[in-house]
């Protein structure tokens, strides 16, 4: 029941944080922290991960490691300055020469 209360309160805090007059970066950081706290609570208590053998924790940690890795692997390609749109590509291309 304590876990339920914690999850409920954290959800209310999350929604409240969105409407706070803070910078988007700070809000984003807080939201990610809150979401992971909730996810860990669910896994540890509802899914009994805290009371299981360590094998299961290792299995559960695998996708987290891989997905965080994937996020960073995608990061260089998602730099907004480097994204090529058709319009940008056309303006960069040299005008065709007619001999």
């Amino acid at each position: 029941m304590g876990v339920f209360l914690a999850l409920f309160i954290l959800t209310v805090v999350e929604v409240a944080v969105v409407f706070m007059p803070l910078s988007r970066l700070v809000i984003g950081g807080m939201l990610v922290m809150l979401a992971f706290t909730k996810a860990i609570l669910v896994a540890a208590y509802f899914m009994h991960l805290k009371f299981e053998k360590r094998t299961l924790a290792i299995i559960a940690a695998t996708p987290i490691v891989l997905c965080v890795g994937l996020m960073f692997a995608l990061l260089p390609d998602s730099d907004p300055a480097k994204v090529k749109t058709p319009a940008a590509a056309a303006s960069q291309a040299q005008p065709p020469e007619h001999p």
Partner: protein
Amino acid sequence: MNDEAEAYETPLTPESWGKLGMWVFLAADAMSFGGLLAGYGALRFSSHNWPVPKDALGIQLTAFMTFLLICSSVTMVKALSAVKRGDRKWAAIHLLGTIAGGLSFLGLQAYEWTHLIHEGMTITGNPWGSSLFGTTFFILTGFHGMHVTGGVVYLSVILIQILRGKIGYNPVEIVGLYWHFVDLIWILVFTFVYLL
């Protein structure tokens, strides 16, 4: 020397093969969601005109949906402890509550989708900005909604088996793992798609 007995006693395996199997499946499933979320992040980060989700989507309704799923996780915990005590009736009531929570969630999601589609949000475009906002929204929430649908079917099968007195603690614990995982994923989807 008995090979089979030895295999069961390896320190690397938990007491139930079914549970280990469900955990391996959930790890694989988490990578599906992780891949979709990472793709969503990359698309959003590289976009110049991504809408602010809270201006386009109804956060109050989805916060309530989050609350519903958390409640259904709690009834799942109660159902499992009832099975452990051997109280089949109490377990069935709480499993029914869990199923009702899942169905209400799906109903609200259908209502939300209908509302958004009427506002002009589709897989290919939306009135607020980058068309990928609609694409990623429907794929992520839809993929999760399919998991809830599957969970409701899975829970119903387990409920019927409990009422017939055919199963004990272990299968209920395993369906619980799946259901809590779906709740866990929604916590992440809710945060990244609706709030962030």
